[in-house]
């Protein structure tokens, strides 16, 4: 049987209006018990990895902290390290910025996580940098937009060189002769460019999977190039079937020129879901959840980000504002930069609202609370399988809407159906690394270290 195997990632609910904190079952987004529960559920559902997003500053709206959504989250690397201690099989993938970190330090931290988890670490390398986030860091908002992916790409290359700078058999620990390391155990890594001047000897041994898995999230041509150069997984937003197929073909088509085959890069778009016992049930629940996700104040706030002005006088259940947007300084900060693109869409939005006769709140629901899969568990399972078999994706990054129980229903009701179809694992292989779980080719140890020279051993 040659069914393509489905890969699933479990996204811990984040700090946006997908997460319904008003749900009676919603728990803490910060207590370790929430993360432990979520990780155990994901492991029960045989997910490939647990995934965390990152935000390095609390979001602001019109100069004040945004107070309607969940705010506050743990430091990504610290929480994943703690989770490594209470899980056995599942991958642990964190989003970590390439602008406000240094390669030696981040490679060392990810190398640590990879060793602590016996080869289950992953890194979603994001580039977002702006002065708002930069104000929390030594270097400030120092990087031009044009240089983001330059730095990201060099950062990834340098990290890979560091991870492969130790031979697998570097440590001999010969008590008799007193040789702890082999003479040519470690290669020195040099990287000199406009952005970096690093001359490094790495201090973390090589992990069982060679290096952490690299994930990419970002849609521009530069982002896609970064993915095809460096990433093992793309976390995309392309979930509509034909659009997803087109993205899949585009990205996978770029791989051959880089000497990579189709299976060496997995595409796992974000997907939300709502289940019901009947299709009608599911639609009703989807509607209820959307209303919780977009409460009246959320709808107004959302439009204020686009209009860039005070709209508190408008009725969320009424028509769109008739005032024009303020194209001056952007006031919403930390919302992943979608506003500039959306601002000039005011005209389009008005058209859409008029054509479908939508209120403000209904329009915002259309835009933000559209659930990817809605239906019975059978329907959702067959849709997921169809996407994978027909090469629209390699699987999904599943985003639940409640912390920390958002994965329970999916694990209990959808996963068994995927297994029945023969498209999804029924157990983890003992000692599998995250590379193994994702079906990625093994890491070539010789590739990255080739440019660097072994550190000469002093004779003692």
């Amino acid at each position: 049987m040659t069914r393509r195997q489905i890969h699933l990632a479990a996204h811990f609910p984040g700090v946006n209006n997908t997460t319904v904190w008003t749900d009676p079952s919603a728990g803490s987004q910060i207590d370790f018990s929430s993360f432990e529960y979520f990780a155990r559920t994901a492991e029960r559902g045989f997910f490939d990895y647990l995934f965390l997003a990152e935000g390095l500053r609390l979001r602001e709206h019109r100069g004040q902290l945004h107070d309607l959504d969940v705010a506050g989250r743990p430091n990504t690397l610290s929480i994943l390290s703690a989770l490594a201690a209470v899980t056995e099989h599942i991958g642990l993938v964190g989003t970590l910025n390439t602008t406000f970190n240094e390669p030696y330090e981040l490679a060392r931290q990810l190398g640590t996580l990879d060793l602590l988890s016996n080869g289950r670490a992953g890194w979603n390398a994001v580039t977002s940098s702006d002065a708002f986030h930069g104000a929390n860091f030594r270097r400030g908002g120092y990087l031009d937009h044009a240089d983001r992916y330059v730095r990201a790409s060099e950062f990834a290359a340098l990290s890979k060189a560091l991870w492969s700078s130790w031979r697998d058999d570097a440590i001999v620990a010969d008590a008799e002769t007193g040789a702890f390391l082999r003479d040519d155990a470690i290669a020195r890594v040099r990287h000199e460019s406009r952005l970096f001047d690093v001359d490094a000897v790495f201090d973390v041994p090589r992990s069982p999977q060679g290096r952490p898995v690299i994930v990419q999230a970002g849609d521009s041509p530069d982002g896609r190039d970064f993915a095809t150069d460096h990433a093992d997984v793309i976390f995309s937003l392309h979930t509509e079937f034909s659009d997803a197929q087109q993205f899949y073909r585009d990205v996978k088509g770029r791989l051959a020129a880089r000497g990579r085959d189709e299976d060496s890069l997995k595409i796992l778009p974000a997907a939300t879901f709502v289940l019901g016992d009947t299709a009608e049930d599911a639609r009703e629940r989807s509607r209820e959840i959307a209303l919780q996700q977009v409460r009246p104040q959320t709808a107004i706030t959302y439009l204020e980000q686009i209009w860039n002005r005070d709209l508190s006088g408008y009725d969320p259940e009424g028509p769109l504002p008739d005032v024009e947007p303020d194209t001056g300084v952007e006031t919403a900060q930390g919302f992943a930069g979608r506003h500039a693109a959306i601002r000039d869409r005011v005209g389009q939005l008005r058209e859409q609202a008029a054509a479908e006769n939508l209120t403000i709140r209904e329009l915002v629901i259309r835009l933000t609370a559209k659930h990817t899969f809605v239906g019975t568990p059978e329907h959702v399972a067959s849709e997921i399988d169809r996407y994978v078999q027909e090469r629209a994706t390699d699987g999904f990054t599943v985003v639940g809407h409640v912390t920390p129980h958002g994965l329970d229903e999916f694990t209990d009701r959808v996963v068994p159906l995927l297994q029945e179809r023969g498209s999804y694992r029924r157990s983890y292989d003992e000692g599998a690394t995250l590379h193994d779980l994702l079906g990625l080719p093994p890491v070539d140890a010789s590739a990255a270290g080739a440019a660097s020279a072994p550190v000469p051993a002093a004779t003692r």
């Binding site: 904190w21 008003t22 910060i30 370790f32 500053r57 609390l58 902290l65 107070d67 309607l68 969940v70 705010a71 506050g72 989250r73 743990p74 430091n75 690397l77 610290s78 929480i79 703690a82 490594a84 201690a85 406000f100 970190n101 240094e102 030696y104 330090e105 060392r108 931290q109 640590t112 996580l113 060793l115 602590l116 988890s117 104000a135 929390n136 860091f137 030594r138 570097a170 620990a173 008590a175 007193g178 040789a179 702890f180 390391l181 082999r182 003479d183 970096f196 690093v198 001359d199 490094a200 000897v201 790495f202 201090d203 973390v204 409460r295 104040q297 550190v455 000469p456 002093a458 003692r460």
Partner: protein
């Protein structure tokens, strides 16, 4: 009734002796494995020790200024990031304080602060940090961000005679200050989850830290809500005046290295300068090698010293558990709050500490029993402080 103190342990690789990895009790191929560290932490936790520090450095040769530190092949090499290692150990320990080492010259203070707050959440109030000022040339080459910095101790041996070292301590002070401010940036009850108003957060109770220093600035509030201790415990190791002053100004707890019990008084006097909200806790360091008999201990020690002589800042005790307890007793009478034991060999000397030193010290009545206080801060007798921003408002 005799004075009573806490016992802590300092964990590092195969132990503090550079030849320790060659002993038959050592596990030299496992020094960066999760199983090794899980076992060490559980031993320390099970022994009832107050806290464990975890050493760290940002280069292969550690924090050594020796030029060949990165090229010699006879020393145990390879490390894990200490803050992440401590986070890993949080769920597998119950009472042990977890105090990783962090250097202040390189990491982003914001990342360090949120990492420690997260360690505090994951350990339910047992997080600390040992801050180390300055950097070595090797670390700077690894990072490639700054060319300037200390190149070693000046000829006088005094920090105040080297402008680069002095500057490093000022920078460390800023890092400590930012850690505290970020820890305070969310008041305890900032998350309101108010269904009525639809507000998750009371934004009046979350504060931007707006820190502007000589070395860096940090503007916003932490991304991590306030943790169980409020402020993770800040600690430092100090041997001389500038570090003593740094500790007195910025630390909750300081590790010192008296040559003998008689030297404690002078150190306490030096530390007493400056005004503080709460007392500074003082722990004396002892490097220990423990065997059943003094003869055995001496034999092991000689073997180790033949292979690689140890140079150390701390007093060394080679002997039986009773010998170690005697040293602790002598220090206890001098008015310190605790003793941090540095095992010469891991896991051997940690096991000896757990199995023999702790029970005998307890029997001798010099150990503070676990009083059940919920957090590390409270266990060392420091109050849980309210957010500084909350107090400002009450005063206004």
């Amino acid at each position: 009734m005799p004075d009573r103190i806490h016992l802590a342990v300092a964990l590092d690789g195969a132990g503090w002796h550079p030849a320790a990895w060659r002993e038959t009790t050592a596990r030299p191929t496992e020094l960066t494995s999760p199983a090794y560290w899980r076992a060490l932490a559980r031993t320390a936790d099970g022994a009832g020790l107050l806290l464990a520090t975890i050493e760290d450095a940002l280069s292969l040769g550690g924090r050594s200024f020796e030029p060949d530190a990165e090229t010699r092949r006879d020393r145990a090499r390879g490390r894990l990031d200490a803050v992440l290692l401590a986070s890993f150990l949080a769920p597998v320990t119950r009472r042990l304080g977890l105090v990783p080492t962090a250097t202040t010259a390189h990491p982003e203070p914001f990342h360090l602060a949120t990492g420690l707050q997260t360690l505090d959440h994951a350990s339910r109030g047992r997080a600390g940090v040992r801050l180390v000022a300055g950097s070595t040339p090797q670390e700077r080459a690894n990072f490639g961000r700054r060319a300037d910095g200390p190149t070693g101790l000046p000829a006088s041996g005094r920090v105040e005679d080297d402008p680069a070292l002095l500057s490093a301590f000022r920078e460390a002070g800023e890092v400590a200050e930012v850690i505290r401010r970020l820890a305070d940036s969310w008041e305890d009850d900032a998350i309101v989850r108010d269904l009525e108003s639809g507000k998750f957060l009371d934004r009046e109770r979350v504060h931007n830290v707006d820190f502007e220093g000589e070395f860096f600035s940090v503007t916003g509030a932490s991304i991590v809500p306030r943790s169980p201790q409020g402020r993770p415990l800040v600690t430092a190791l100090a041997h001389q005046s500038v570090p003593y002053r740094f500790a007195a100004e910025h630390a909750d707890l300081v590790f010192v290295t008296p040559a003998d019990a008689g030297a404690v008084g002078g150190i306490l006097d030096e530390l007493a300068s400056g005004e503080r909200e709460e007392p500074l806790r003082v722990f004396a360091d002892l490097l220990v090698l423990v065997e059943e008999t003094r003869t055995e201990a001496a034999a092991v020690w000689n073997r180790l010293q033949d292979r690689a002589p140890l140079t150390t800042d701390a007093r060394v005790v080679v002997g039986t558990a009773d010998d170690v307890v005697e040293e602790i007793r002598a220090l206890t009478a001098q008015g310190i709050d605790g003793v941090r034991l540095r095992p010469a060999r891991l896991p051997a000397d940690l096991e000896a500490i757990a199995d023999r030193v702790v029970p005998r010290a307890a029997a001798a009545g010099i150990l503070l029993p676990d009083d059940g206080a919920p957090t590390l801060r409270e266990r060392v007798g420091l109050p849980r402080l309210a957010s500084r921003y909350a107090r400002q408002e009450v005063g206004a």
